[in-house]
């Protein structure tokens, strides 16, 4: 019983951090602060993955998202020197309308998920007997048997994205 409560407290504190960092990302005027808030958010989500018994996904989240993707973001922000935009004329009705639409979306999504998805109930904390090596081995077997084709398609997608990024960034040769 005590462990259950601890679990719930842990979840609530972490979700508060996640929501606060997401709002910080949304509201800070400086793009670098936004990126750092987002890194914190990604790390929090990685801890959620650990709580849900998905250690491999948690580690990929930290290395790929918090590591690679956000470093790329920070690099581009600093490269462009685009930390903050100058004030420009803003449509006056845009923010209230966006807020209204967002609240509607949140209510609808929560309502639909809870009523239609018929979730099977509570989520226990990962058992203390969770064997990380075994779960990793099983996941790898699945990835390279059942999901081999999507895996290979992903590798082609990454190659295409790399070529695309290089072609886009490359300095154009003057024809004339």
């Amino acid at each position: 019983m005590v462990i259950m409560t601890l679990d719930l407290i842990f979840f609530l504190v972490l979700s508060l951090i996640a929501i606060a960092t997401a709002l910080g990302m949304l509201l800070s005027r400086n793009a670098i602060y936004s990126a750092l808030f987002l890194v914190l958010n990604f790390v929090t989500v990685a801890v959620f993955y650990l709580l849900l018994g998905a250690p491999f996904i948690a580690m990929s989240q930290i290395t790929v998202y918090a590591g690679a993707i956000m470093v790329l973001f920070l690099f581009v922000i600093m490269l462009l020197g685009a930390e903050s935009l100058p004030k420009a004329q803003v449509l006056p009705w845009q923010k209230p309308l966006a807020g209204f639409l967002a609240v509607a979306l949140a209510i609808e999504a929560t309502f639909l998920f809870i009523t239609r998805a018929r979730p099977p109930g509570d989520i226990a904390a990962p058992a203390e007997t969770v064997n990380m090596v075994d779960s990793l081995r099983e996941m790898g077997m699945m990835l390279f048997n059942q999901y081999l084709l999507p895996f290979e398609v992903t590798s082609i997608l990454l190659l295409v994205a790399m070529v695309g990024a290089i072609v886009l960034i490359r300095r154009e040769k003057r024809v004339h």
Binding site: M25, Y65, L85, D122, I123
Partner: protein
Amino acid sequence: MVPINYYIILSAILFTIGALGVLIRRNALIIFMSVELMLNAANLAFVAFARAREVATGQAFFDGQIFVFFVIAVAAAEVAVGLALIVEIFKSKRSIDVDQMSSLKG
């Protein structure tokens, strides 16, 4: 024990914050980060559902986690191309304000 509904509500809230970011910010980089936040919210729901199914059936399922793995890979590809586009736009417009991007060429 945490009810799965809590995870779903958290996922919905994070997704909404991401959508709000896309709607109200004009900085293309922040809009892009908000898209990443929405992807993350969806991933969280995936892993939560996978875990719930695991708890309900007492058997390990990795389908949800593998799907999240693919989403992460696709997000990495998307970020590479998207940031290249943003750099290119900045080179021609000297700004990444999305309100300025109103013409198709130049």
